[in-house]
């Protein structure tokens, strides 16, 4: 049964407020914005809280990640977050910004109205602040065996060729960066992530189902034939709304369901 409320140890309290530092000159910053950030410190026995940081946007980069790094550099060095590439290809800075999952590095501050609220990816165990534990998410990815299975012998100096048309079937699949924005946006995944694989793992399963060079299609479909692993998708479409790479996991899951039916009736 779905548990809609947060456990007692997870209720978010109101924390501290940090005002914008005065600009280089004596003048107070004019173009300010409040960033309300989820904080949790495993070292102290307290519930999570939200701290408010007021930033001078005239003195800050355009993206939410720029603001977070400015806060970490200049206001509170204890703010914990993952980030690496700062250009939307590594997937590290996935978090919940302004009520939706996305990458902090590609989310423009100008696109957000009012206070900027930043939380970790939803319904996950929090390690510290904006860093959530994605171990289970990665295990589910591994469970779809995301590598090519092909028993046909081929000379070591030969490639496994693919037609241009077959290669195009992988478009919209291979681009996934495993940031977990989609899976952690999905209410079905929130309530059933112990058994439902979630949009990211399913999309990556289909990436190999659709690959003309892979010979394990039937086995892959057999593995997904389960009331929970695949069929907990109810086409809520939060995944597609959230994907920072513009992919459509909801549509991909529908394709897997179609393949299931087609092989049953043929």
């Amino acid at each position: 049964m779905a548990e809609f409320k947060l456990p007692a140890n997870s209720i978010v309290k109101i924390g501290k407020t940090f005002s914008a530092p005065k600009g280089g000159d004596k003048e107070q910053a004019k173009n300010t914005r409040k960033f309300i950030i989820y904080r949790y410190d495993p070292a102290i026995d307290e519930n999570p809280r939200t701290d408010t940081f007021e930033l001078d946007l005239d003195n800050c980069g355009p993206m939410v990640l720029d603001a977070l790094l400015k806060i970490k550099d200049e206001m509170d060095s204890s703010v914990a977050l993952r980030r690496s590439c700062r250009e939307g290809i590594c997937g590290s800075c996935a978090m919940n910004i302004d009520g939706g999952n996305t990458l902090a590095c590609t989310k423009s501050i100008a696109d957000i109205k009012g206070d900027v609220k930043i939380y970790p990816l939803p319904h996950q165990p929090v390690i510290k602040d904006l860093v959530s534990d994605l171990t289970h998410f990665y295990e589910q990815y591994a469970s779809v065996e995301p590598w090519m299975k092909n028993d046909t012998e081929i000379a070591p100096d030969k490639e496994r060729l693919q037609t241009k048309q077959d290669r195009e079937k992988l478009d919209g699949l291979y681009e996934c960066i495993l940031c977990a924005c989609c899976s952690t946006s999905c209410p079905s995944y929130w309530w059933n992530s112990d058994r439902y694989l979630g949009p990211a793992a399913l999309l990556n399963s289909y990436r190999w189902i659709a690959d003309s060079r892979d010979e394990a299609t039937e086995k892959r479909l057999d593995d997904l034939e389960d009331p929970f692993k695949l069929y907990r998708c109810h086409t809520i479409m939060n995944c597609t709304e959230a994907c920072p790479k513009g992919l459509n996991p909801a549509k991909v899951i529908a394709k897997i369901k179609q393949k299931m039916i087609k092989r049953k009736i043929s």
Binding site: P42, T235, K251
Partner: protein, 125 residues
């Protein structure tokens, strides 16, 4: 799913701005439940009609009251919404209309259609 982790669970429903598609998914569930309960009430109505004039009169009195009408109106809307959105789901099952743009448009179409059908039914009946 029970939470047996010492670490906190990050907020979900509390902070997520649900898109239209998600809200309609919730309404689809809600109307489905309403129809299930409504069918039991419907059997009750039929049983009252079958039990003779006296029991039918008291049931008719309830159905004519503002509360009875509200229940019937809710049932009508639930029926039309669930039907229209069910058709939307059938298209999705065929792999059609799953692009965000179409999913939004079909969602709005379902709302408009179910409201119009409900109002029409009540105007005619």
């Amino acid at each position: 799913m029970s939470w047996d982790d010492k670490r906190p669970m990050s907020p979900h429903l509390q902070v997520y701005k649900l898109p239209l598609t998600a809200k309609l998914s919730i309404v689809h569930r809600g109307t489905g439940t309403a129809l299930f309960i409504g069918l039991i009430l419907m059997v009750w109505v039929l049983a009252a009609a079958a039990a003779g004039e006296e029991s039918w009169q008291s049931m008719h009195g309830f159905l004519s009251s503002w509360f009875g009408k509200l229940v019937l109106f809710g049932f009508t809307f639930s029926l039309y919404f669930h039907l229209c959105n069910g058709i939307r789901h059938l298209f999705w099952d065929m792999g059609k209309g799953l692009e965000l743009e179409y999913a939004h448009k079909s969602g709005i179409a379902v709302i408009v259609a179910s409201v119009i059908l409900t109002v029409l039914t009540w105007l005619i009946a």
